[in-house]
């Protein structure tokens, strides 16, 4: 189509007849009435006469998009845009293109076209509203403010417009203006608020107070004002909690501690189960550090609220005296065990973690004593739950045999409680026996097939045991399976990220296992060259396929996660207008905050790290293949070509057909999306990318990197990414941060430093200027810790240096070094030995994981 360029220069086509114009408007009306097919018919009539009628081209694109013919739509729109280039398009055309771009989620383009529509003389003020929504979505709040203002000027009669203007002003830091905007509307609306508008009104009043509070800072007068405003709006505000909380914090800021404490007591009265208010009450009374007074306070509060947790629990967190603490713990835990509260251990687990030196041993003694008084048949309920507690207690202390003993006692006593099976499985999990763990959970699951919780747990454990088929089978019991053989599609549809991620990790582990096997087989084959048996050849082919399949599926599943998060981000679009209409600006601002941290959520980060392993490997393999010179490859092809007689060709063809058949059969059970949305069921295309680092960046890393807070960043990951794209200076920055976070004697720092140091050697492919920069930085910052001169000394024993200088027991650091063993002159087997030697401190599960999948 690009050959038609000639038409672009001719402005003749611009003179459209009156009739055409009328026809076009008719088509537009049809589009608005959602009669896309009819609209297309009319447009075709215009285009028949004038094939370069831009407006019609654009509208036809939009129509086609609306009826689902997206590919055709793209070409029509592209055609229209090409014709516009250089000449002024009609405002309607720009508007149509803007809507099209919004539909295809190209928000920045959409903004461009909407703006163009306005520039070219559109009088349609609605465009400003759409524009504001899009600008908010991409985070361009300066422009949002302008658009909101324009729209507000044109439609003063709607509260939503005032609210949205105020929000835009607030976000841009124009707090006073925002307050004025809201006040103005309040004045206009005074006395005219109907019942149905009261909630909205209350939200906006509190929102105004929010802004005032933010604007006040520490200014006493302004804070007094905030307080006064709170007092004024009190009768109209329904959200009493926010009101009281605000009141208390203003009092605190003003130093009126007693007033604050009264408010906090009111809040506790309203909700005596919220720990937060108790803490704040301590602060307002100024007794956070006075255990004696605190004890008295909580003693009183416990009498006031005898059925509430906080006054009973909080003293356990600060009482120092062992005798007293012991008594308090007893009073807290034993009644729960007596009642048979399954969550007793979970309730005190925070104490186990925070007061690790005191609480576990005290509670262990107390509960063991209690158990010795119990009789299994006399008081069955306390007996089983006390055993359950003790099992968890010993599991926490990593005393697995004891944990097992108490879990068994509970299970023997009452083999019909699902909880005990879960606990038992958990113990096996920590022992690294994933298959046994899954087996026990399965036994428990059989007891109660309608229990979703144990269903999910069992699925997870089977995935951990790399038994994907069984896991999928069990998970599918609870999914909507309509026309598919299992629940995989449904689990993607409902965004069950826990399942997808666990499955991805299982596929990744299987990939590693198969690859190991394949390597062994091929080396075996190379040894016995010439007389390769049919069997090994088949084995190899089988493994090759499995390796490819598992790798592809692992990537495919990892990629499913960012898809969800992009969807979450996109879901915000509707709320830029919806929240204003519903009058919930506070919730709206909360949503914006949430949107800013979306890509740092644990699930996303876990998926990113999982995918990073594969992408890093693909990148490294890519480099290796390049440097291994191409003759290796050509030889391979050469031998293949020479040996292939016609019978062999036939055989190969047959095998390929069999393979395809097998793939087709399997595709049904692994497909994650419906067939028309996915042409890469096994993720093979993902594995074939030639720019893995770039792809990893756009799909995973960039979004994370933009949003991650400095204190939560993963510097190791940053380093690994930048190291591969050759940004050595940034690597050094990461190294500095690692030094600050973990200390310059930590193993992690040591190994990262050694790797980076070796990147500055002459024979590495990095930019020489960068190398010099890094070398200089090393000399400046770390010349005392690191033997910088030894870098060109091939005989230097870096492993010995590492062991002498850094905390060598730290497996994390050693594993990092192991991952980069080819870049550092360290003997692989020696390094491996050191790592294995240090494993004994870890729990069995972690040991297994490292031995199986990292070495």
């Amino acid at each position: 189509m690009s050959k038609k360029r000639g038409t672009k220069a001719k402005p003749v086509a611009k003179i459209t007849s009156k009739k055409e114009n009328e026809q076009f408007l008719e088509a537009l009306k049809l589009y608005e009435g959602k009669q896309y097919k009819k609209s297309i018919k009319v447009l075709d009539a215009i285009l028949k006469k004038d094939a370069s009628h831009i407006d019609s081209l654009a509208l036809k694109g939009l129509d086609l998009y609306s009826v689902g013919e997206k590919d055709d739509a793209t070409s029509f729109v592209a055609n229209a845009i090409r014709k516009i280039e250089g000449s002024a398009a009609s405002p309607i055309c720009c508007h149509v293109l803007g809507i099209y771009m919004r539909n295809t989620k190209e928000y920045e383009e959409s903004i461009k076209w909407f703006t163009a529509a306005l520039h070219n003389g559109s009088t349609n003020k609605q465009i400003y509203r759409d524009l504001a929504t899009l600008q908010s979505q991409i985070g361009d709040f300066k422009s949002t403010l302008i658009s909101r203002k324009k729209y507000w000027e044109s439609f003063l009669g709607y509260r939503a417009n005032w609210t949205s203007l105020a929000v835009a002003q607030d976000i841009n830091g124009e707090r006073q203006q925002a307050i004025n905007t809201l006040s103005q509307f309040e004045k206009l609306a005074e006395g005219k608020i109907s019942d149905s508008e009261k909630y909205e009104h209350n939200e906006c009043l509190m929102y105004k107070n929010d802004i005032m509070y933010k604007a006040a800072g520490d200014n006493q007068d302004k804070l007094q004002n905030v307080l006064k405003h709170l007092h004024d709006i009190e009768p109209y505000v329904f959200d009493k909690f926010s009101l009281l909380e605000r009141k208390a914090s203003v009092h605190m800021k003003l130093g009126q501690l007693q007033d604050a404490s009264i408010v906090y007591r009111t809040l506790i009265k309203r909700n005596p189960d919220d720990f937060k208010y108790y803490r704040l009450l301590e602060v307002s009374l100024g007794i956070q550090n006075d255990n004696k007074l605190k004890k008295a306070l909580y003693g009183k509060l416990e009498q006031f609220y005898p059925r509430c947790e906080p006054p009973k629990f909080i003293p356990l967190t600060f009482i120092q005296d062992e005798k007293e603490l012991s008594k308090k713990l007893k009073d807290y835990v034993l009644p729960q065990l007596k009642r048979g509260v399954p969550a007793t251990f979970s309730n005190v687990k925070p104490l186990y973690q925070r007061r690790n030196f005191k609480v576990p041993q005290l509670l262990g003694k107390i509960v063991l004593e209690y158990l010795s008084e119990l009789d299994g048949t006399q008081d069955p309920i306390p007996f089983i739950w006390t055993n359950y507690y003790l099992s968890q207690h010993f599991l926490f202390l990593n005393d697995f045999p004891k944990a097992q003993e108490y879990a068994n006692a509970a299970l023997d006593h009452t083999p019909t409680l699902v909880e005990f099976y879960i606990l038992k499985a958990r113990i096996f999990k920590h022992l690294g026996l994933m298959d046994t763990a899954a087996k026990h959970l399965e036994e428990g699951r059989q007891l109660d097939l309608q229990d979703r919780f144990i269903n999910c747990k069992t699925v997870k454990y089977f995935l951990r045991a790399n038994n994907i088929d069984k896991a999928v089978e069990i998970a599918s019991l609870f999914t909507k399976n309509d026309d598919s053989v299992n629940g995989i599609k449904d689990l993607h549809l409902v965004e069950a990220s826990w399942f997808i991620l666990e499955q991805a990790e299982a596929y990744y582990r299987l990939y590693l296992e198969r690859k190991k096997e394949l390597d062994e087989l091929t080396s075996l084959k190379n040894e016995t060259k010439g007389e390769e048996s049919e069997e090994t050849a088949n084995d190899i082919r089988d493994n090759q396929w499995l390796v490819r399949k598992y790798k592809g599926l692992a990537l495919k599943r990892f990629h499913a996660i960012p898809k969800f998060y992009k969807q979450f981000e996109d879901d915000q679009l509707d709320f830029h207008s919806y929240c204003m209409r519903k009058g919930t600006p506070r919730a709206y601002l909360e949503m914006l905050e949430w949107g800013k941290t979306l890509y740092t959520r644990p699930m996303y980060v876990r998926a990113m790290k999982g995918a990073s392993r594969l992408y890093f490997e693909m990148h490294d393999d890519h480099l290796k293949r390049k440097s291994d010179s191409s003759d290796d490859n050509s030889e391979d092809i050469g031998t293949n070509g020479q040996n292939s007689t016609s019978s062999q060709k036939k055989k190969a063809k047959k095998e390929a057909a069999a393979m395809n058949k097998r793939k087709e059969a399997e595709a049904k059970s692994v497909a994650a999306y419906s067939a028309d949305q996915d042409d890469d069921i096994f993720g093979e295309k993902l594995t074939e990318t030639t720019t893995p680092m770039k792809y990893f960046a756009t799909e995973f890393y960039d979004n994370y990197s933009k949003q991650a807070r400095e204190d939560e960043r993963d510097y190791i990951l940053d380093f690994e990414v930048n190291y591969r794209v050759g940004k050595l200076a940034l690597c050094f920055v990461s190294l500095n941060k690692i030094a600050r976070k973990y200390g310059p004697t930590s193993g992690l720092f040591g190994s990262v430093a050694i790797v980076l140091l070796h990147a500055t050697r002459d024979d590495t492919p990095y930019d020489p200027i960068l190398k010099r920069v890094v070398t200089k930085s090393f000399e400046k910052d770390y010349s005392e810790i690191l033997p910088l001169n030894e870098i060109s000394n091939d005989g230097f024993d870096w492993l010995k240096f590492y062991q002498e200088t850094f905390s060598e027991k730290e497996t994390k650091g050693l594993l990092f070094l192991y991952r980069y063993r080819e870049d550092v002159p360290i003997e692989q087997s020696a390094l491996k030995e050191v790592i294995i030697g240090g494993l004994s401190d870890l729990e069995p599960r972690a040991q297994n994981e490292i031995l199986q999948y990292q070495l």
Binding site: H413, L417, L447
Partner: protein, 176 residues
């Protein structure tokens, strides 16, 4: 409050596993899983089933809960006709068991009461059970609950899943 800590409820396809577990724990090696799964066999498999008698059999099942924990189970069969000279008609208890740690809490009595009620509902007058002749504690329990022995012990009547055989006695209780 005043709620009884022990309650009965029906068995459903989804918690059948509980009943199986209870049977295996309280009376080891006697029941095949198939005996229980047949209780909820789907209609199609019923008609196709090789054993035509299973279609006609009417069975009632219950689980007993102690503090919401399943601790006891019951399976009874309605036997509307005498099958031979020695046997009886009425309600036959096929499985009645309570976890050892939860005995002496009248849970078994409750389950038995359920069987007796079913018996009356079905206009029958006998509740009966075959127990191993050597099992004294079971015998005592049933006799304490109003059962009496019916006829002599029957040789090698009970077959367990390992192929072992035991003599059995028939106990019955008359429900008026």
């Amino acid at each position: 409050m005043g709620r009884d800590i022990c309650s009965l409820d029906n068995v459903y396809a989804n918690n059948l596993g509980m009943l199986i577990k209870l049977a295996h724990v309280t009376v080891p090696h006697l029941y095949h899983d198939a005996f229980f799964t047949a209780l909820f066999a789907e209609d199609t498999s019923m008609t196709k089933s090789k054993n035509p008698s299973s279609k006609k059999d009417v069975r009632f099942t219950q689980l007993a809960y102690y503090s919401e924990i399943p601790v006891g189970g019951l399976v009874v069969k309605l036997v509307p006709k005498k099958q031979n000279e020695l046997s009886l008609k009425g309600i036959q208890i096929e499985f009645l068991g309570v976890l050892p740690s939860y005995r002496h809490k009248s849970i078994g009595t409750k389950l038995l009461k359920f069987a007796e009620d079913k018996c009356s509902e079905a206009h029958q007058h006998n509740v009966f059970v075959y127990i191993p002749a050597a099992d004294n504690s079971a015998k005592q329990w049933f006799i304490a609950h109003g059962f009496e022995q019916h006829g002599e012990s029957i040789g090698k009547f009970i077959k367990d899943i390992n192929g072992g055989e035991q003599d059995a006695i028939l106990l019955k209780k008359h429900i008026s």
